[in-house]
Amino acid sequence: MADGTTDQGPVTMLATPISLDFEFTPGVAQSKFLRGLERGEFLGQRCGTCGQVYVPSRGTCPTDGVATTEDVVLGNSGTVTTYCVVNVPFAGQAIEIPYICAQILLDGANLSFMGLLQEIPTDQIRMGMRVEAVWVDEAELIPSLASVKYFRPNGEPDADYDTYKEYL
């Protein structure tokens, strides 16, 4: 905005944001997952052919090409399979650096997903660490991963490498 002064100096920079607006629908399977988040639980789906449990489920098994119709409520805890400590600031960053992004394999799932890890110094994070989801207050639960504030260590001993080596 012009600041009303008579001498603002010559224009040297121009803001040129580009944006695309989408009407996004997650479809039937992921809508179920998101409705689960609204209830404070992680909902996956099991393949009737190979038995793998996907979370979030896309509604089909990528291995067998069949619809996944069995809903499975997964544990609130999981295992860190791998992680990244973010030290680099970037535009639009919402979390204070340094912070940890971890791939988390929820108990009962055969697919890990990315979560924010807090309540632990960044130099103490390790593969195999057992963690649990911390949710927003019940009144604030919405059908979005924003309902999960973050994950934190749950105090259990580290998981055996063999239990997650297939998921790296």
């Binding site: 905005m1 012009a2 603002q8 040297t12 803001a15 944001p17 607006d21 989408f22 997650p26 809508s31």
Partner: protein, 152 residues
């Protein structure tokens, strides 16, 4: 699952780019913020508006900046019946190539008019700038052109 249970949401993907203007386009935008137009003098004395940094025919640096407008002539135009959210006007308008007085090239901008029947190639228009306090040094500082004589 009933179809009504399937979620949907608005989603915007946005990149907040900023770019440096350089001295020539910067001068053009500075002039817009002041509610006036400048063009660059190119080869054979032709005046280029909006100014380029290099002469499009010879590739030489352009010469001095000269004041042009604020009136001009419509070289060609197209009527927009249904403006989009990012268009400069939210009522039906015309995109037009306007050759400002003193310029040898035309620049693209919106022309406000009551309807396509009010427009013609060769029609005289003049600039309507945003209020001074709202100008930031961008093409949007020029709200639109309007028909001379106040038809719009």
């Amino acid at each position: 699952m009933a179809e009504s249970e399937v979620l949907h949401a608005e989603h915007r993907l946005e990149y907040p780019y900023a770019r440096s203007t350089g001295p020539i386009i910067g001068a053009f935008l500075t002039a817009l913020r002041e509610g006036r137009f400048v063009g660059a003098t190119g080869s054979e004395g032709k005046v280029i508006v909006p100014p380029t940094e290099y002469d499009p025919l010879t590739g030489d640096d352009v010469g001095e900046l000269v004041e042009v407008g604020p009136g001009g002539v419509i070289d060609s135009w197209a009527w927009v019946s249904h403006p989009l959210r990012k268009h400069p006007l939210q009522v039906p308008f015309a995109w037009a190539l306007v050759r400002l007085d003193g310029a040898d090239t035309a620049m693209l901008h919106a022309v406000a008019a009551p309807g396509p029947e009010a427009l013609a190639t060769g029609a005289r228009v003049t600039a309507k700038f945003c209020p001074e306090a709202e100008r930031v040094g961008s093409m949007a500082d020029l709200e639109s052109f309007v028909l001379e004589g106040g038809a719009a």
